[in-house]
Symmetry: C2
């Protein structure tokens, strides 16, 4: 079986730490290791290095290789351009087919945070077993800790069995990010889970569904498959990729397919999607202030602040609910709860052609 680490994100929401050359999964924002290093380390007990594939962009391949020195170069799959998750997953499936024939693949985002790695591996193992069933598309659903409106939701159906001690349900529907009232109703029903974006299936299972629901993508993949590992491979890949539809696997396949299953799980998961989320993940002092590793800060009448400043002493005076992120050439001061607006700063920098800050 194979693990496919999707490492295509841009992570504009982590500016000024994330830059074009260093998207979120290549940053050490939650600890000493980068998110992609943590992702790979977490699955080490289940997957050999030779069975771990990382799909990434041209710009980031070298840094991926640097951060994962034990990963063979041929296990880094480079997309010529980003085309959302359906294309990424299809391409990875072709590589696995070519390498090992029909096999189980666990598709895992490179940039999530997980607290309890052991429980995570138990869930993943159960999912792998469940995915052995022909045509099964298995997802991991996170038992919601709050009516979060920043996540998609998975609704469980009635069919239920137990695999390796974990319950697994048929999926009744997959929902995009809800509004607050919807989210409240989802959580109260007890039948909805956060969509973790982790998928486990056989290569044959997913390619069949892509053929059914995304025929254009499937046709493109077949062209790529023909030239895979030949001298024309890169040229064909680039030419075909240009034409591929840009669609998420959730919207393109999962929301439409039958035979979707969910394993409810609780292992302390977060998509680590914004500075706000990072604050939630970090240890805090009695006043709720958090200082990222290696940094130094003094608080005077300050509460619930996050300071990320590895090189500089930061003094925070008379302030509540503030995020402070210092880097070599740029500084972010952001109200907590507004950190999704950080991408507006990146857009303004782009519009102003301030490339050195991008």
């Amino acid at each position: 079986m194979h693990a496919v680490i999707m490492a295509g994100g841009k992570g504009m929401r982590f500016w000024p730490r994330s830059r074009e050359k260093k998207p979120k999964h290549l940053l050490d924002i939650t600890g000493e290791k980068t998110l992609i290093q943590q992702t790979v380390e977490r699955i080490q007990p289940l997957f050999d290095w030779k069975n771990i594939l990382v799909v990434t962009g041209k710009k980031h391949a070298r840094e991926v290789a640097r951060q994962l020195p034990k990963l063979s170069a041929k296990n880094i799959i480079i997309e010529p351009e980003g085309k959302n998750t359906a294309a990424c997953i299809g391409l990875a499936a072709l590589h696995i087919l070519k390498k090992s024939g029909d096999d189980i693949m666990a598709v895992l985002p490179a940039d999530h945070a997980i607290v309890n790695a052991e429980e995570y591996r138990r869930v993943l193992s159960a999912a792998i077993r469940a995915a052995a069933k022909p045509d099964a598309l298995v997802t991991i659903g996170i038992r919601p800790e709050s009516p979060h409106t920043g996540y998609g939701y998975i609704e469980q159906g009635n069919a239920r069995e137990t695999i390796s001690g974990k319950e697994i349900f048929s999926v009744c529907s997959i929902r995009e990010k809800p509004d607050a009232a919807q989210a409240q109703a989802f959580v109260q029903s007890g039948k909805f889970y956060w969509n973790s974006g982790m998928f486990i299936w056989k290569t044959s299972s997913i390619l069949k569904q892509i053929e059914k629901f995304l025929p254009d993508l499937h046709a493109g993949l077949m062209k790529i498959q023909k030239d895979l590992k030949t001298a024309h491979a890169a040229k064909t890949l680039a030419a075909v990729y240009k034409t591929l539809p840009s669609v998420s696997i959730d919207y393109g396949v999962m929301e439409k397919a039958n035979n979707v299953f969910v394993i409810p799980a609780s292992f302390g998961w977060s998509d680590a999607g914004s500075w706000d989320t990072i604050y939630e993940l970090m240890p805090k002092d009695a006043q709720g202030n958090a200082v990222a590793a290696g940094g130094e800060a003094i608080f005077e009448d300050a509460e619930n602040c996050l300071v990320y400043s590895p090189k500089k002493m930061v003094a925070v005076v008379g302030v509540r609910d503030l995020i402070v992120v210092d880097t070599k050439d740029a500084l972010l001061i952001c109200e907590k709860g507004s950190s999704q607006d950080v991408k507006k700063i990146v857009e303004k920098l782009e519009a102003a052609k301030k490339k050195k800050y991008l």
Copy 2:
């Protein structure tokens, strides 16, 4: 006539820009020039370089000389330690007496901000004329723009005359910083002015009052005078200074003396006493955000913020009433209205022996 620039301040309130080696008057916080450079430039049309004396501490004399290259070394009077304004003024008076005999001296703080330099000079000229009268102690009172509780106040009496087109009043009382209700009453009465800390008098006039109200200080000054400009000067100065009372000229003399006069003035004055005051002095955009010269900032849903960051791009998101001050090794984030608490940060750094940040 002589100008005496008092440059003894520590300016902890401007941390992290002000440090032990660079107190406020040696900083360029309000423009391209430092406050002491602006102070001297402002009086250039009235005073020759040879008649300008700067009184400063040992630690800062070299930087004063660097910032004022036209100032002769012998015009820098070094206090062995800070003993508040009465001693500083007394020492300057001795130097002027030795150099030129009894003469008018205009005592001016090195670290105030003044908008209208021309009007300021008109007022100062009138004050100089008024100070020629035997025993007169002349002050400049700022017509209050608000019931500020951070300034002392001067109450005018009834006696009044006009000198060089400026009204001058006898002074009825001099008050320490009032509480809010008092300040309100002061401003409403129309008879109170902010105490600018600028004093104009003859050396003989002030020494006489010091003798009367601060006899210990006067006795010490007489010992210093005896050895002034001799080989023992520095030794005597250090020995005597240790014993001098540390008292302000306001409390020690002005609050008690008769023959005090005030010239009411409006030339856009501020003591530039905190980052809050600097914000008031700076030009702002339509959202009330101010960016100090040379800095670059992007605001997204931000209002009434001050950004002082000459080297680094600063993005401010979803924030109101914030002061951001970036320096090479330290960063201050402070709510507007709390900038007097900045000195608490300095105290914490001192307590923690973080000398590199002091």
